[in-house]
Symmetry: C2
Subunit: 169 residues, 2 copies
Amino acid sequence: MRIGELARLSGLTPSRIRFYERIGLLKTVDRRPNGYRTYPQQAVMILGLITTAQRAGFTLDEIRTLLPPDLKHWDHATLVDALTRKIADIEALQVRLTQSRAHLLRLVEDIQARPDDMDCAANAHRVLTNMLAEHPEVLDVTSDDIRLLDMTDRRQSVSPGRRKKTAAR
Amino acid sequence: MRIGELARLSGLTPSRIRFYERIGLLKTVDRRPNGYRTYPQQAVMILGLITTAQRAGFTLDEIRTLLPPDLKHWDHATLVDALTRKIADIEALQVRLTQSRAHLLRLVEDIQARPDDMDCAANAHRVLTNMLAEHPEVLDVTSDDIRLLDMTDRRQSVSPGRRKKTAAR
DNA sequence: GCTAACGTTGAACATAAGTTCAACGTCAAG
DNA sequence: CTTGACGTTGAACTTATGTTCAACGTTAGC
């Protein structure tokens, strides 16, 4: 099949598919005499694998080293090893998230617990002092790799301030 | 104090401090007649706040819109609102991580559960089929912003394949 | 007066994972 | 034989968060 059909079947854009080929991630591609790329059915599954692995937190670089040239011949040991490490990464991240969440919850409580007779400045000082007091503890969790998970559909939780986005044309 | 001292006290690099000034994040800076920057004590706390907020998953853009010009005058409503949303973001991410982790665990089990009489190719097919079968389900969790957490100290879980790193000189 | 440490600037570079663009080629239908 | 959909390429752009560099200025101590 040609690139357009592969794009439709896999749900990826043609540019993304070409990009994967450029970086040596997708090798199952041939050329017709007219220069058009042509792919085997298998390519759909490979792309599915790639996006699934991405969702699990693997970088394209990692995926490249794990994907065998032939889907039938995996390096079991290496693969299981990588998966196991990735699971550990996720668990480390979960620990961090739990801490962050607790931190933010405490902060919100702190802010809302302002005694009615305390003025804003004093409350600010109280909250900041509390926060920075536990700062070092948080700073020490300087561990782990966290390149897991990158949905590009970022919401704007706060309002980013500037948009540019290549207007009109 | 000058930038070097501020850097020492805050634990950030001078270049990073200048960068924060460039993007309008750090405004408490004056100039000596010789052109040197000079900062008030407060700057240490502001930088502490910034890095703490970053660790909690806020982007510099978000932090900029939340940080008041004067640390004594916060916009309580907006702040609590942003914190609450960030907590929700974290919780959404935790859900995703739990799913990813379960997915990987299942995958490892699947791979290791190969019947001894099954050959590699058949096992590969079995595992892939299982994996892609639950793919759509995973694909539907297309929700949430995940720009949380970016320790730049990435480990190389798999071995990246190429290093360039501006050698020598 | 020289040297070392510190400061300044603007520009370019780095990373990851793509997207977008311009300029061009191919092909089937009308 | 023209039009539209599809394909090709290489280069530049994007986002976020900084770092690095070259070329230059300032200051304190010896």
